[in-house]
């Protein structure tokens, strides 16, 4: 897969990359959970609407804030850095698959 003249000499991610990969994995799952919650609980939807004028706008801003805040926290605590990078990538991929299917199934059947 990789250029044969440049064989891998390292298999670790930097503390910042590790932190934001884990933050993204959590945020992706949070995104689906919040979609379920605001769709199933009207007061939450109304509250989110009251914050920015539209629940979707609030939803997007909440996702971005969460990624930023968690990324910062994970950099400071070193939680993600201590994890095996390949496991971290697997967690991110699994989160995206679960979150994507979660949205599709929710809006198909609920």
């Amino acid at each position: 897969m990789m250029n044969s003249t440049t064989a891998p000499d390292s298999s670790k991610l930097s503390p910042i990359t590790s932190a934001f990969v884990l933050a993204a994995a959590v945020a992706v799952l949070f995104n689906t959970a919040l979609a379920w919650a605001k769709d199933g609980y009207a007061p939450l939807n109304n509250f989110m609407k009251s914050l920015t004028g539209h629940p979707w706008t609030t939803h997007g801003l909440a996702d971005l804030l969460l990624v930023g805040a968690l990324g910062f926290i994970f950099v400071k605590t070193g939680v993600a850095e201590r994890m095996d990078p390949h496991r971290l990538i697997a967690i991110l991929v699994a989160s995206v698959v679960i979150a994507g299917l979660g949205l599709l199934l929710w809006y198909t059947f609920v």
Partner: protein, 158 residues
Amino acid sequence: MNISPSDVLLLAHATFGAGGCLAALWVFVETLNASPDNARRIRSGAAVTAICMAAAWICGGYWYVQFYPAEKVLILGGPWPFAHNLFMETKEHLFFITAILAFLLPIATREKIYSNAAASKLVLSLTAMILITGLTVEGAGAIIDHGVKLALLRGSSR
């Protein structure tokens, strides 16, 4: 020609989304052939991906909040209500996942991808997921558009 700001925003949204997907594909291919020579191109492609997805978010978000409610009424009264209930509802939330991954890509490409197997795997995974979710969102947009078209056609044939 009568092109309204709503039309411009909607088409810009779809174009930036497609541009972001193409840029992610560019980064994927460059990463398969990663070397010190193309490290800068990989970072440029990652930046283009993130910028395009941010622009798609801003254009599409403004259009969705300001102009979509009228189209939603049309879709729900037309023959394809699922264009909103399933496809728009899924698309508007799936897009956030695409955007989060796109914003993570420039961070991931700061690594030495040509000499780091984990970084290479991360960038390949990210770009593949951006492509899959991004193209799904694009396809859902086409179905939503068709839902509006069918509603208008049915209305005009009455």
